[in-house]
């Protein structure tokens, strides 16, 4: 298939020279390009994944001597992960954090994009301002959050001033609020991401369907719901899926701000794995936790890929340009 395509492209250049040596050259070209990547993946990721598997089945902590002499314990470590309620809570917290951040970023980002996508005075300035949080390093956001959200910080001061009462919310040390706090910070950080994607989607919408609906006398609300929203489906999916995947692996904001605390109130999967491995030095347990997390994440990513691919396929068939059609024909 690939050779046929390359051949077809070449056929246009020099008709009749579509021969074996050419397709060989193309194949060699492809191999030369891919070889470094394959070597890197093979020499780096394979041993790492094997090590991970080894530690998941052999009990070892840094207090024991050499890791290759560790005892084989079968599925014991996996069993202890599965029966560990703290791990279960970490999974739930990760899902809550990622879900909350995904929805928050999407709603805000979409709203901002919708308000800004038609040209108006000040549009460029607002756009430039709105993308700034995404350009800020997450660890900087964590430490800035610490200053802003302190009990005596400016946020409480501003809230007190606005409400007229003395408000002292313990954003960081109240275990009931802490997870919400880090989720809100994450939303602050990543709303630009959803905003940029939705803005690109909105401004690339074809104008004809909207105009047609306007002529038919549809209200702005109905045009949004029944014309624009369905057309935006692929972009919406993209914004949701990518944000969710990224938030599931989020580490610096929570770690820099609260290290999973107070107590275990903000201990998401990444934080728990980190604590197990680098604070308790229980490498095997950390490996098993990582393994389960990885399998889960790979599963979610594969599902996401299938979703995105299906959307891209339908887009590809919708938007096949005449030029492309000519060339593949």
């Amino acid at each position: 298939m690939a050779e046929a395509l390359a051949g077809a492209a070449a056929g246009k250049v020099a008709p009749g020279r579509l021969d074996v040596s050419r397709s060989q050259a193309v194949r060699r070209f492809k191999w030369v390009i891919l070889l470094p990547l394959m070597l890197m993946l093979l020499s780096l990721l394979t041993p790492v994944l094997l090590l991970q598997l080894y530690f998941s089945f052999h009990q070892w902590t840094v207090y024991l001597s050499s890791w290759w002499q560790a005892d084989f314990v079968g599925f014991d470590i996996f069993q202890s992960v599965f029966t560990d309620p703290r791990f279960g809570w970490a999974v739930l917290r990760s899902l809550a954090f990622a879900g909350g951040s995904t929805i928050g970023c999407f709603v805000l980002g979409f709203l901002l994009a919708y308000l800004i996508y038609r040209p108006f005075r000040g549009q460029a300035l607002y756009y430039a301002l709105f993308i700034v949080p995404m350009l800020t390093a997450p660890i900087v956001i964590a430490y800035t959050g610490q200053m802003l959200l302190d009990r005596n910080g400016p946020l409480n001061d501003i809230l007190s001033w606005l409400s007229g009462h003395d408000i002292r919310v313990l954003w960081l040390s109240d275990p009931d609020i802490a997870l919400l706090t880090v989720t809100l910070l994450d939303i602050w950080n990543w709303t630009p991401f959803s905003f940029i994607i939705m803005l690109a989607g909105l401004s690339s919408l074809p104008k004809e369907p909207v105009e047609a609906a306007q002529i038919l006398g549809a209200s702005a609300w109905r045009i949004f719901l029944e014309v624009q929203l369905p057309l935006l489906r692929p972009v919406i999916l993209l914004a949701l899926v990518l944000r969710f995947l990224d938030a599931m692996g989020s580490f610096p904001i929570i770690w820099g701000l609260l290290q999973g605390g107070p107590g275990t109130a903000t201990e998401t999967l990444g934080i728990y794995i980190y604590i197990t491995t680098w604070q308790d030095f229980n490498v095997s347990l950390g490996a098993a936790q990582s393994y389960i997390t990885m399998v889960m994440m790979v599963g979610i990513v594969l599902l996401a890929i299938r979703l995105l691919r299906r959307e891209k396929r339908s887009l590809d068939t919708m938007y096949t340009k005449p030029r492309d059609a000519e060339e593949t024909a």
Binding site: K30, V48, A128, A137, M297, V298
Partner: protein, 292 residues
């Protein structure tokens, strides 16, 4: 009458909402800047100090040159701080890994765009390198690296940055290469240029503004990376984000002012870069889903 009034009200509402969000966006950045100029007694005061008075450059001096006279009884932790080393490492790592990833990524992207080097499925699978969180492999990775002698080395961290940047590099440059008309390459081919020359001397120069945008987009990600740097480095290859966390948790309390001073140095170059390429940001993660 009512219609124009309603429209005016809607416009006012829109401006109000957008401005509110703009304030929410800007305030934390303002707070970093203002804290970085505050003397230490204004870091935690209640009510909070919004305008440092008098503004001081002490924090910048203490961060970059070293604390000469710090409040109550000298601070030993400061000797651990190596901002210039961290700055140098961050510069080399972010620029080096990003340049390598964009160069290699654009060659892969060319292969994909013109020769279907990777099927669509493989292209999406490539994203796994980015989408599966690194925390799930860093423990065995650091062990493996320590055997290879790559732990706490520029090469080790650089290789990881390179690998995690590659998916975005490929996807983003492909979106630019797809827009180059094939006739250009065919002309080069007729003139007898080899495939490699066609790539490096015809196609890539044509998309150079796209390459710059890709480079800067990935630079932002690598510059702010935290977890890999935290785990794969010890003392030699500390990067700026990890350096920043050294102001945390030490016995003498939180050093907000110095943290803020360093944060300004980490953040503002990125914001400038990002504003520079703002028009291209959508490409970084639209993965072929937004059609122009």
């Amino acid at each position: 009458m009512t219609k124009t009034r309603r429209r005016r009200l809607a416009a006012a509402g829109r401006y109000a909402f957008l401005t509110l969000w703009a304030v929410i966006v800007i305030f934390p950045l303002y707070w970093i800047v203002s804290t970085s100029f505050k003397p230490s007694d204004q870091w935690f005061s209640w009510p909070p100090v919004y305008f440092p008075s008098p503004p001081t450059l002490d924090n910048y001096r203490d961060v970059w040159i070293g604390a000469t006279s710090v409040a109550e009884g000298g601070q030993t932790a400061l000797s651990l701080q190596t901002p210039f080393l961290a700055l140098r490492n961050s510069l080399i790592l972010a620029f080096g890994a990003t340049a390598a990833a964009v160069l290699y990524g654009s060659v892969i992207a060319y292969g994909v765009s013109r020769y279907r080097l990777l099927s669509e499925t493989r292209m999406f699978q490539l994203l796994m390198l980015r989408m599966v969180p690194p925390i799930v492999i860093v423990a065995p990775l650091s062990l493996y690296f320590s055997y290879l002698g790559l732990l706490d080395s520029m090469v080790g961290l650089g290789v990881m940055y390179f690998l995690t940047s590659l998916p975005y590099a490929v996807w983003m440059t492909k979106s630019f290469i797809d827009e180059v008309p094939r006739e250009v390459e065919q002309a080069a081919e007729i003139l007898g240029a080899s495939r490699w020359r066609t790539v490096f001397e015809v196609v890539l120069p044509l998309i150079r503004s796209g390459l710059v945008a890709t480079f800067m987009f990935i630079l932002i990600l690598n510059w702010s990376e935290y977890l890999l740097s935290l785990i794969l480095s010890k003392t030699n290859v500390v990067t700026l984000p990890v350096e920043l966390s050294k102001f945390e948790g030490s016995t003498e309390g939180r050093l907000f002012g110095r943290q803020a001073a360093l944060s300004v140095g980490i953040t503002f170059p990125l914001i400038i870069i990002g504003l520079f390429i703002r028009k291209h940001l959508a490409r970084g993660f639209s993965f072929g889903m937004v059609r122009r």
